[in-house]
């Protein structure tokens, strides 16, 4: 188990390394455009060259990459062009806001997805199964921005019960979180439900469930004690991997509702060509995604007694 964990974390570090090379190649390999992005388009050629020289951009690319990576590892992401402060000063509070939004959404989506998935999987092909499947296809077909428009059309403009934006101008307000969370849950629950359903349906076909039913155990007890334990192993991985999708979803939702989180920060950064901020956001997003993937793998082997790595 320990060796397996070490190996998983090793792969994770290697992945992060390659991701950093990719991000560097995409955003920093062309020094001319870096200078233009940092200093603005209305600067003279001399100004840019002076800036490049002073900030070490005349060094070979490999040196620049290694220095850049070193700074990244110790948490020095450079200065944001747009906010005129170190990137880390804006990034961490925004990330915390997104963690709140994403955490609540993931929790609710998982509860709904697991419950409906189990109900659907208990009798494959039954009326409930059909209903859940149709519901899941319908809601996952609506892009986040579309359900944001539908929901705010209903709950903000037609029946004004919820605020239309979630800027949190007067301190943290849970009511402003309702719409963003709803949008994320609508898009995400279906996938969890479908995976849970498939896993549950598979377990219900096994011999030990048939045995339990035939020896006369109450149906509820069969489901609770025999089926659920085995059926919920696979969805655990799905929920963890869902975090990767959620990181995409929060960008749309935060932009749509002006929520001051990590997604809207990355969006603002990309609109303003705020290159260091884009890099930091990208690296942090990938780190979160890779971390959850690694934890999902380790958790899966821990939960599933049939898989043991020496």
């Amino acid at each position: 188990m320990l060796i397996f964990m070490v190996r998983r974390f090793g792969t994770m570090a290697l992945t992060m390394l390659v991701v950093s090379i990719l991000v560097f190649l995409l955003l920093e390999i062309n020094v001319e455009s870096v200078a233009t992005k940092v200093l603005g388009p209305y600067t003279s050629q001399e100004q840019r060259e002076l800036w490049l020289e002073r900030n070490g951009y005349t060094d070979p690319a490999i040196w620049r990459y290694l220095r850049w990576l070193g700074n990244f590892v110790v948490g020095d992401f450079g200065d944001s062009v747009r906010f005129k402060v170190p990137v880390s000063d804006v990034l961490w509070p925004r990330l915390a806001n997104t963690a709140i939004l994403g955490g609540i959404a993931l929790f609710i989506a998982s509860i709904i997805g697991l419950t409906l998935g189990v109900i659907a999987g208990m009798r494959e092909g039954g009326a409930r199964d059909r209903g859940v499947s149709v519901g899941a296809v319908l809601t996952t077909s609506v892009p986040e921005f579309a359900s944001a428009v539908f929901l705010s059309g209903l709950l903000v403009f037609t029946w004004p019960v919820l605020p239309g934006t979630s800027g949190m101008a007067d301190g943290f307000d849970l009511v402003q979180l309702v719409l963003p969370v709803m949008v994320l849950v609508i898009y995400d629950w279906g996938y969890v439900a479908r995976m849970t359903r498939a896993s549950m349906a598979e377990v219900m076909m096994t011999h030990y469930i048939r045995t339990a039913v035939l020896k006369g155990l109450p149906y509820g007890q069969v489901i609770r004690k025999h089926a659920l334990r085995n059926a919920l192993i696979a969805p655990f991985t799905v929920i963890m991997l869902q975090i990767n999708w959620l990181l995409s979803g929060v960008i749309v939702v935060e932009v749509a509702f002006a929520y001051k989180g990590f997604g809207s920060l990355l969006y603002e950064a990309s609109l303003n060509s705020d290159i260091y901020l884009i890099e930091a956001c990208a690296m942090v997003a990938v780190f979160v995604a890779v971390m959850t993937q690694t934890l999902a793998d380790i958790g899966y082997t821990y939960l599933n007694p049939r898989i043991r790595f020496s």
Binding site: L22, L27, F145, V286
Partner: protein, 295 residues
């Protein structure tokens, strides 16, 4: 009489068999609904010039509510107008062309890149597989929209750049699926037979293995098409999609949404358009999967 009795039934052409396989979708009503929606939008895209009551970029009465008459009284804005007075219905109709051009194109490119990668990884295994799988894992570890934003921020927003970004982000997923299928198919007897005949590796991959992996790949392509439609819409919504003024569903939503205080219905229509098209692809995928599992 005897002549007829000994005549061998003619083997159907591969294309005909392929089409007949797809025609099985008739047996799934879910799939038929999906196919119907897709055919509907395809016809709308083809006949956009005839169907649209106004030219898509012609200004008129700004922010007219749905159903109001145009300034000259000759036409009706069935779904209202935007802030420049352009007819929403006409723009939705013309916008279908953009989506139905770029979504299939981008998906096709993703498959064009992903299939050879997956074939090579699954058939050759060993180092080729390790390297290709690692590259795929790296790209797939990006939250997709983050990857799109970085790519678009670097190369700029345009139709062809969307195709490039989608190909880059989706090809690894295609590769993974193809690889899994090939790992299963490569131990079939017809593959051993082809190897014994001395066929080249690429011929085996492309002629022997790939056609037998088509079922799951077609289902995956439908799901992926739906997802690419969402992606193009989302990029348009974020202002990173196709450049104005030509209509693009996602971009229309983000423009009309600003005027929700005037009339919240205005932004709803392009949302319905995009959701219905995605639903069409998802239902078709469900139907195809259902039909393919049946036999």
């Amino acid at each position: 009489m005897t002549d007829q009795a000994v005549s061998v039934p003619r083997r159907e052409s591969p294309l005909l068999r392929f089409v007949k396989g797809l025609a099985l979708i008739r047996e799934s009503w879910v799939g038929m609904i999906g196919l119907g929606i897709i055919v509907f939008w395809s016809l709308v895209a083809i006949f956009a010039d005839i169907l649209a009551p106004f030219p898509p970029n012609q200004p008129g009465l700004p922010l007219a509510p749905p159903g109001s008459a145009s300034l000259d009284g000759l036409g009706v804005y069935w779904l209202g107008t935007d802030q420049l007075g352009r007819d929403t219905l006409s723009r939705i109709i013309h916008g279908s062309r953009q989506v139905l051009l770029y979504a299939p194109l981008a998906t096709f490119c993703a498959y064009f890149v992903g299939i050879p990668m997956g074939l090579a990884a699954g058939y050759r295994r060993g180092l080729t597989d390790d390297v290709l799988s690692f590259i795929a894992n790296v790209i797939l570890s990006f939250p997709v929209l983050v990857l799109y934003i970085i790519i678009i921020a670097t190369i700029g927003a345009s139709g062809s750049n969307i195709v490039i970004a989608v190909t880059f982000a989706s090809a690894p997923g295609v590769m993974r699926i193809v690889r899994g299928l090939v790992l299963d198919l490569r131990n079939r007897e017809y593959v051993f037979a082809a190897e014994t005949r001395g066929e080249s590796a690429w011929r085996i991959m492309l002629v022997e293995i790939l056609p037998n992996a088509r079922g799951p790949l077609i289902v995956d392509a439908c799901l992926r098409l739906g997802y690419v439609v969402i992606t193009i819409g989302t990029l348009g919504f974020l202002g990173l999609g196709l450049p104005p003024p030509d209509p693009d569903w996602g971009g229309m939503v983000s423009e009309l949404r600003q005027f929700a205080i005037v009339d919240p219905m205005l932004a709803v229509f392009p949302c319905i358009a995009i959701s219905s098209l995605v639903l069409g692809f998802n239902l078709l995928a469900d139907g195809l999967r259902e039909v393919s599992l049946r036999d």
